[in-house]
Symmetry: C3
Subunit: 272 residues, 3 copies
């Protein structure tokens, strides 16, 4: 069956770890279509992987299987899980790397970093008959996650791989907040290949009169929102392709210019 | 249909932008075969993308669709186009990134950076029914170019996507010239992963007696042409795999050794 | 036919050399499934390519074709070969890049760097009717290896491409040795994306009482073996996913911490 399976890892491109996973998948489902999302996640950076995945999964065909292996706890007692949503399946360690997806199906309070689910199902991966044998304690991506994704792509129901799970680990995602003087404060979530600062502020967070806001980042102030990267001069702010507020530098690299890093604050002031 | 679609971008490998485009393509044509040409084009470097594409497109099967998204003017009034040649289709912004292909089908004079075409057809991409909706003003690669390429791969005729266009934007490609004393002067077009300097001089530009020329680059002089990278010592010159004169360093990196950069002059003197 | 063809090169990701090879393959076998193993091998580093390939090929489906182009002698008189093992085919220059595979099928003594084979067959690639024409003397990957791999994937027998070869070039692979005082000495073979030092010592080389050994690397000593990257603190040693002893740094980069490089010695002392 020609299901699509995507790969998101922190394995980099100078080793053969990703290829080993793909070989395992093709040995089980020769018809699977394999697509790389990203392998340049910084080692063990779960929140970066979570963000990068969040910007891509929604554009894949229904029932795509997303394999995510950023797994610093490999071989310890962290759980491995399948998350089935109405649109897709995710195969990953239960360490927060699916936080943005889980957030779409959240219900109730996060307790001990675990978010109860509504409208999506999760299953622990415990049935070893689907795994490679023996399992290396240091590479579950190859020996557990890859064969599970391949069997899923052949139509095996997620419940065959283990017991249902009611809640999944989530990261404390940075949420915009408002200060007493009305300033909206968000954070840099990601700095992309162009040096664009992608922030936690989404279009719905901003006042309806976009033109009348100021955006403060570092020691710089940007007045109003642009529509494209090519229409303003110098630093500019716009709503990017994943609906987040971005800070960009015309024909340059805003991240380098501002010496910015993930987590930096970005402040929005309306003009009344 | 299992058409081949290639991808050339400046998106890098640390974001999910390329993956989002691939997801969109597979949602429209699940049978498309997706091949990366290059995503490490420097941000907004149209001429680099044009050169890299020129070294690969000719080796793909007939009717391959080449999607090229190096698009600093995204969202502005730059045109998006389909170029149909006898061998392939190209989907790209009309910003010069197809210059080497257009050059094969050029007729008449370039006017206002636009080259009239002969033997190839071009069409503006204006029919929004083929696009994703809404279109992000900052990511036409995902919302316009990818779905257009996918529909092309299903057999939709290019004329369905918009009106014919008679001329396309070209870059001023560096052409070799000859000085009054008979010296042939070219430029470095590209420095590859091995540090080879790939120049604008092609085999047909050189005098027939290859062995009797000298190649000057920086403060160095190379006498005669080698046939392979492995047969000479030190700096050597040869006709590379895309028919361009290259300067190479045996077991080393000529670009680093010569501190060379794209645009540097390379001079050929015949020995009479 | 939907055979799997893998690619391992030192071409990097900023040029279109890999894409040109893939285009050639798809022109001959449109159904081939193309999987990248690694393109970030350092230029001309045959031993690195050999190691990286050795960690991946065993995980691919039976009869996968592995195309390996790390070929500093391209265009010289180095031989091009097909190696057929019971599980897979390899298409590569005969320069040692297949050493780890050849080692599985070795018989008799290495003479003049050549290892006689047992249980696997090798053939010289000399029949030019399978090649692109003309052949660039600087890019056999595109003009010879890629079309040969594609024709192999269509079912052409390796003997059609040239005469049998009885022995293949091998690198002097570093082997662990034991000093007079009983210390087992190995070497660092590879440093991966996480900074893990992967050594030439395999699980079978170690004494059965793992817990009672010490591992010395640089000026550091590690006591005992861990089972996973996540269970110890600081520097740790474990048997990694390819059965080699690895030195790792919890939540860090052992290679950078130890300023290690490929070839460095690692010493194992048992405790009696």
């Amino acid at each position: 069956m020609d299901a699509v399976i995507t790969f998101t890892t922190d394995f980099g491109l100078a080793d053969a770890y990703v290829a080993a996973m793909k070989g395992v998948v093709l040995g089980i489902n020769p018809g699977a279509k394999l697509v790389d999302i990203c392998h340049s996640v910084k080692p063990r950076n779960i929140s970066q992987a979570a963000f990068v995945l969040s910007t891509a999964y929604g554009f894949f065909p229904p029932r795509t299987i997303h394999l995510v292996v950023v797994d610093p706890g490999v071989g310890t007692d962290r759980r491995a899980i399948i998350l089935r949503t109405p649109g897709a399946d995710f195969v990953a360690p239960d360490n927060g790397v699916l936080s943005y997806i889980i957030h779409q199906y959240a219900t109730g309070q996060v307790v001990d970093n675990r978010q109860p689910l509504d409208g999506a199902e999760a299953f622990a991966i415990t049935e070893s008959r689907f795994w490679r044998s023996p399992v290396s304690p240091t590479f579950h991506g190859r020996d557990i996650f890859a064969p599970v994704a391949a069997h899923l792509s052949l139509g095996t129901h997620p419940s065959a791989f283990g017991e249902p799970v009611n809640s999944l680990v989530v990261l404390p995602l940075p949420r915009p907040h408002r200060t007493p003087d009305g300033t909206l404060v968000g954070n840099v979530l990601h700095i992309d290949n162009f040096g664009n600062l992608i922030t936690s502020l989404k279009s719905g967070d901003l006042p309806p009169e976009d033109g009348a806001i100021t955006v403060e980042v570092g020691n710089e102030v940007v007045h109003g929102l642009s529509r494209t990267y090519g229409t303003a001069e110098g630093l500019l702010a716009l709503i990017g392709s994943s609906d987040h507020l971005e800070i960009s530098l015309k024909d340059g690299n805003a991240g380098a210019f501002l010496n910015a890093k993930v987590g930096d604050e970005v402040k929005i002031r309306g003009v009344h």
